[in-house]
């Protein structure tokens, strides 16, 4: 193993000593996937996330857990491999970065339409087009609005640390299978590339054939015991039937919105101002809060962890009566629209961001807070 392994100061969890490892966010995703019983990875290299497939290739999980790892001919093929795998009841995922995820949108829409629990990772880079290989959060709209054709949503988890990169793999699969819905991890080049201490999840065996049949009675792996055939499709030509399907999907999305909102608040109790930020921007915002508080500004951080479902009610509740809300993001102002919808004009909402692969400094956020809201 090429990772340096550090022992945490006597830290014990249960009976087993917890192993703290230093690794990149991308590596954490790969290693966590092997540990949480994932059946397959299908991917195509693109900066800044190629370490995911490289780590899997290096670790050879097919020799240990039996996990399949395949370099596909394109992102289009990779997401359709995830479609095939998920349709057959398996835990499979792919990963890419912004231009590659744009290519995957067709497959993601099909996953949503056929209600398949595929998982994918977007380690975002700046765009549009080929753009830059530097980090960005400019795929927020694409991720939270569905991205492809049709009325649908994918569950979007936004990690802000290498630890969360590792933890969200199993969470994404759990949610995907619970709701038979695609789930994504929306990261960026900062979290993907940076090295941090991480505790990988414990090993969990891949599900047996019987367990898959029980969990996924809809899966296509041959109609055993003469059951009725299972058909995976997003097609329905009769509009009355297609509307029913859409109504069913919308009911499912409401259920997800009710149950699965996740977020974190930091130093909000006495705050007069709130910064809303996700992923790597939230880390920078956290530093900005320290600076601002040292200057006597009472400011707290609201970090959405699920970008869809969006914690709209929670943000509105927290912002109520505050002097103002600043949305800091590494794009031209995307999540700010959701925050404004949530707050609905009750409190002032301003935006600050940098574009094209530039990651803002904490001081820039503090300055924005002062100039735009104070």
């Amino acid at each position: 193993m090429h990772n340096r392994v550090q022992k945490k100061d006597g830290g014990l969890i249960g009976m087993a000593e917890q192993e703290v490892t230093l690794m990149k966010g991308n590596e954490a995703i790969a290693r966590a996937a092997v540990r949480c019983g994932v059946d397959g990875y299908f991917g195509y290299p693109i900066t800044p996330q190629s370490e995911i497939i490289e780590t899997l290739a290096l670790d050879k999980p097919w020799e240990t857990t039996g996990m399949v790892v395949l370099q596909a001919e394109s992102e289009v093929a990779a997401i359709n491999m995830v479609y095939g795998a998920a349709g057959a009841g398996k835990r499979a995922f792919t990963s890419s970065s912004s231009p590659g995820v744009a290519l995957m949108q067709e497959g993601i829409s099909y996953l949503a339409g056929a209600e398949l629990p595929g998982v994918f990772v977007n380690v975002q880079r700046g765009g549009p087009g080929l753009g830059t290989i530097q980090p960005s959060q400019s795929d927020y709209f694409q991720a939270t609005r569905g991205g492809g054709n049709g009325d649908y949503h994918v569950i979007v988890l936004a990690p802000a640390s290498v630890q969360e990169m590792a933890d969200f793999v199993d969470l994404a699969f759990t949610l995907a299978f619970k709701y038979r819905n695609p789930a994504m991890i929306l990261s960026d080049g900062v979290i993907g590339q940076m090295m941090e201490k991480v505790v990988l999840p414990p090993y969990k065996p891949r599900r047996t054939e019987e367990e898959i049949m029980e969990e996924c009675p809809w899966a296509t792996s041959g109609r055993r015991n003469s059951r009725q055939p299972n058909i995976i499709t997003s097609l329905e030509l009769k509009p009355e039937e297609m509307e029913k399907r859409n109504v069913h999907l919308q009911a499912k999305y409401e259920e997800i919105q009710k149950n699965e909102v996740r977020y974190e608040t930091i130093q909000c109790d006495d705050a007069e101002y709130i910064i809303v930020a996700f992923g790597s921007a939230a880390r920078i915002a956290q530093k900005a809060i320290e600076t601002a508080r040292a200057q006597g500004i009472k400011v707290g951080l609201f970090r959405p962890i699920t970008l869809w479902p969006f914690p709209a009610g929670e943000i509105a509740g927290l912002a109520h009566g505050k002097k103002g809300v600043l949305v800091a993001e590494i794009n031209a102002g995307q999540m700010v629209q959701d925050v404004r919808l949530a707050i609905n004009g009750e409190e002032p909402v301003e935006y600050f961001g940098r574009l094209g692969g530039i990651v803002p400094e904490p001081d820039e956020i503090v300055n924005a807070l002062k100039t735009k809201l104070m």
């Binding site: 059946d39 397959g40 299908f42 399949v68 395949l70 596909a72 001919e73 394109s74 289009v76 093929a77 990779a78 359709n80 491999m81 995830v82 479609y83 095939g84 795998a85 349709g87 057959a88 398996k90 499979a92 067709e106 497959g107 099909y110 056929a114 296509t220 792996s221 041959g222 109609r223 055993r224 015991n225 003469s226 055939p229 299972n230 058909i231 995976i232 499709t233 997003s234 097609l235």
Partner: protein, 259 residues
């Protein structure tokens, strides 16, 4: 006379009927379409191999999109052209299952060329059933990658001209050159003899998939009488006279006997 016929019509005298695995529903295909015959062959071979409970088909976008309504096995309907990628994952994750795709010329040889060529080149243990009728049937008779030079379609109404439209693609010949393929053949289903050969080809391909010998491609040169604007009988004649010249029938590659 009537008495004689009644006497014959008892179950023990049945010499031919559609396979049990074919559902008893009206198929949406046009009268005389080759798809129906090929569906029957796929169903017969699955039945004869006893793989009813171990088969997963992947249907395309195009006329055969509803193949899952007709053959009584598990199916996934893939995005346009992506069936080989979908099948790749199913087979890799359920290696003891029979996994095959059923694709038309537009799906396989145009929008899905990358997925087809790369799945075949990786030697995925899947079978691709390829219906080549040289036209886009589902969308109403537009030019296909396999439309013959001179052939008229709604998007080359004056006939396919290479200088305007490029040449028809012999993707089966391409497949035969790939290291990953073990069996590549071109058949048709317009006569009893041809149907018999096509069935043997599908059987050989499915056996190779189950034995893990690599990828198989079974092209069926087919008719699309609606798209060609001919009667079913005229379409068979046109196919025999025109298609077989450019798409000659027979095995292009067979390494299934080697070890």
């Amino acid at each position: 006379m009537a008495q004689n016929t009644d006497n014959i019509l008892s179950p023990e005298n049945v010499v031919y009927r559609k396979p049990k695995l074919m559902n008893d529903v009206q198929m949406h295909y046009c009268p005389g379409c080759s798809h129906g015959v090929v569906h029957k062959l796929v169903a017969e071979v699955i039945e004869e191999m006893g793989l009813e409970e171990k088969s997963v088909g992947v249907s395309p976008v195009g006329c055969a999109v509803f193949a899952y309504r007709y053959i009584d096995i598990d199916w996934q309907e893939a995005a346009h052209g992506r069936a080989p990628a979908v099948a790749t994952a199913i087979k890799r994750l359920w290696p003891d299952r029979l996994v095959f795709t059923y694709q038309g010329d537009g799906d396989l040889a145009c929008i899905g060329t990358a997925e087809s060529v790369h799945a075949l080149n990786r030697g995925e243990n899947i079978t691709i059933i390829f219906i080549n009728n040289a036209i886009y049937g589902m969308t109403g008779g537009q030019m296909a990658p396999t439309t013959l030079v001179g052939q008229k379609t709604s998007t080359c109404p004056y006939g396919r001209q290479p200088e305007l439209h490029g040449y028809p693609l012999k993707i089966t010949e391409m497949a035969a050159m790939l290291e990953g393929t073990c069996y590549v053949t071109r058949q048709s289903v317009e006569t009893v003899g041809a149907v018999s050969k096509a069935k043997k080809a599908i059987r050989k391909a499915f056996e190779a998939s189950m034995a893990g010998k690599g990828s198989s491609l079974v092209e069926i040169v087919s008719t699309c009488n609606s798209g060609w604007k001919l009667t079913p009988s005229q379409a068979n004649k046109w196919m025999t006279e025109n298609m077989f010249k450019f798409y000659p029938k027979g095995d292009l590659k067979d390494t299934t006997g080697e070890k």
